[in-house]
Symmetry: C2
Subunit: 429 residues, 2 copies
Amino acid sequence: MWPIIMASFILVSQDSHFPLANIPFGTGFSTHNPNPRCVSRIGDFVVDLAALEAEGFFQELSNTHFFSNPTLNSFMSEDKALWRAYRSKIQALFAAENPLVRDNEQLKAKILIPISEFTNTLPVNIGDYTDFYASRNHAFNVGCMFRGPQNALQDNWLRLPVGYHGRSSSVVVSRHPVKRPRGQIKLLDSPDPVFSSCKKLDHEVEIGVFLGGKLNKLGEPINIAVASEHVFGLVLLNDWSARDIQSWEYVPLGPFTAKNFQTSISPWIITTLALEPFTTGLPAQDPVPLPYLREDPPTSFNITIETFIKTPSLSEPHKISTTNLQHLYWSIYQMLAHHSVSGCNMRPGDLLGTGTISGPTPDSLGCLLEMSTNGKTPVALPNGETRSFLNDGDELIIVGKAESENFTIGFGDVRGVILPALEDQYFHN
Amino acid sequence: MWPIIMASFILVSQDSHFPLANIPFGTGFSTHNPNPRCVSRIGDFVVDLAALEAEGFFQELSNTHFFSNPTLNSFMSEDKALWRAYRSKIQALFAAENPLVRDNEQLKAKILIPISEFTNTLPVNIGDYTDFYASRNHAFNVGCMFRGPQNALQDNWLRLPVGYHGRSSSVVVSRHPVKRPRGQIKLLDSPDPVFSSCKKLDHEVEIGVFLGGKLNKLGEPINIAVASEHVFGLVLLNDWSARDIQSWEYVPLGPFTAKNFQTSISPWIITTLALEPFTTGLPAQDPVPLPYLREDPPTSFNITIETFIKTPSLSEPHKISTTNLQHLYWSIYQMLAHHSVSGCNMRPGDLLGTGTISGPTPDSLGCLLEMSTNGKTPVALPNGETRSFLNDGDELIIVGKAESENFTIGFGDVRGVILPALEDQYFHN
Ligand SMILES: [Ca+2]
Ligand SMILES: [Ca+2]
Ligand SMILES: [Mg+2]
Ligand SMILES: [Mg+2]
Ligand code: NI
């Protein structure tokens, strides 16, 4: 089951997230070529897949030109067998023992771009984005704060992966700053809501799941037995959340302006093929789910996710949490089966968020709302500062990786700096 | 303010929805040309805008070829002044007194298609679809059934237009049949949910609002003073709803599989330019909304919306409701201002649903859930049948029009027949 650990002729440092065993997919442009196109990455070099394709290196696999597109949607629409073939081909081309590219300086100059000369773009045209709520610890902790411990976990929570539709237009790639949102807030000591900038700006640590392959037609659910064929790969996802706006608006139809102002993802899509060695199960589910959700055992991946905060006064980012995808109660394949159960058609490029991933301990929580108990227990930083929520100027950084003794499959990071809210007369009241 | 009532040389019957004063926009293909393209309609003729454009008739307005595209997104991305210019140009070309097209039989054969030889397609590539909940009567009636009269209208309802994100992939054009959805249902007399076909399949009468123009960047809200510049036009919308699935799943994050299986829209987008003569206000809002929602007075349109049911045993469709867009509490421009208040970027082609439009009387309700009081007061049909919800084989038809003494601006209709649920072993339990 474990892949042979191949070395590349490209130097890859021991702690790199992007060894030859990874082969992530992304998009972007370089200082010498401003056209966004599809790329991969090995160590600190970006591999220009569009250039490789133009040179004919993939002709044996397909006549379609996938990689000159500004997004990966066309490639993601193919099936898993083809994704696997392309991945193997790329690994073979850059293997240490293969002279074809290694010894061709002219070719290497065309297809390898130092990461410092490259800017990532949003890798996918996202048709629909859906956010789930699949961590039991998170649902319970937040439920306690919004509704009290009695009603924290709703009756349906253990029966189905609760999810809701999100906003696809405002999904951005890492490093896009976050303008502090404004909106309606209802303070406890006032009968009327006010218009205000958000005073409780939070992050949510999630994994994003990109769908691909030949997906279902409207009216035909996806059987859980084939759900894994329809996941192209994973990214880190930060579901920025305005808690004070959320608590006022979310009843009875769910979060809206508290979430739709921005969602950030990491730029490199890590394929489930690369993550295969890190496949794990999840604890048995009790009660046993209905047959359409039955996966034996539910599948997860051992992905460690660390969260850091860098305030303007801190000299370096400070770690505030370490969690793991395995802390979810529901699997990503159960999410997909449930999403489509009533016949909803899924499309290549659709994005599912897992929901905030909180572990069972205080150092494994997925958002500041939980860490600070909604402001009651602020997080202490090493320079004496505290944070209950995010301040202007703070940078929030989420890093993910799957590690074995021999190698690391990394996600890189997703990060964003908080900018002050807009100031304009019209909105004042 | 009222347009001069122009006559076309194309014969338009007195009761047609599509006189020269309308000029709706749609897409589709004809028996002689299978390429989907942009079109308009006068009486019972489809006007091939792509063919008119290819002949150079719009060259004085723009060099861009908008209408050979399979959707209207490119045209909708332009500003209202250009929409107005194109509309006037089309009206002038088909005016009774203009010989240019009228007396050119060869040209008419190229650009006019009998409606019987034409098939409408989904007119827009919808980036994101959002559904609101803006009828006070509907929110109160449904709130009573789901939560009791005490909690029927939540605290936030009179303060902001409650909305939630919907699923854009499953928005289809009229006449697409509806496969009865299946999913998790929790019956009152059982401790466990079951997997079942929906037993409470319902419709929701709504108006769909298509956005256009130069829209806002991420982080920059749309000022309500300019919101009307960003609405391209309106359609009829049926937000099919599985009430038994909904009542179990919707807490706390809103409807999901109960709604995402299908949403149907009428094929012709009626521009707000055509609806200008039917502009009305809405009753004063109490409490007065926050400044970012203040529109004085809130704008609506006098659009009558009738709902019909045709069961297999009925000889003709039977009217079950007559309502009006004016029955909404919140205006469509207030919805747009609220949607973007925290910085959510809107895109040309985005679709907003108003939410179910229920009037104050029993004959003006927007869904069967309300008409039948969740099954307690079934609707009687003229042949002795009754309906609390939709049966397999039933067709639900919604018709909309704005009428004055002199002319009608119609929407045509949105319709769909209910097909039996899928039967397959795998899902049985
Ligand atoms: Ca979330
Ligand atoms: Ca609705
Ligand atoms: Mg979220
Ligand atoms: Mg709806
Ligand atoms: Ni969407």
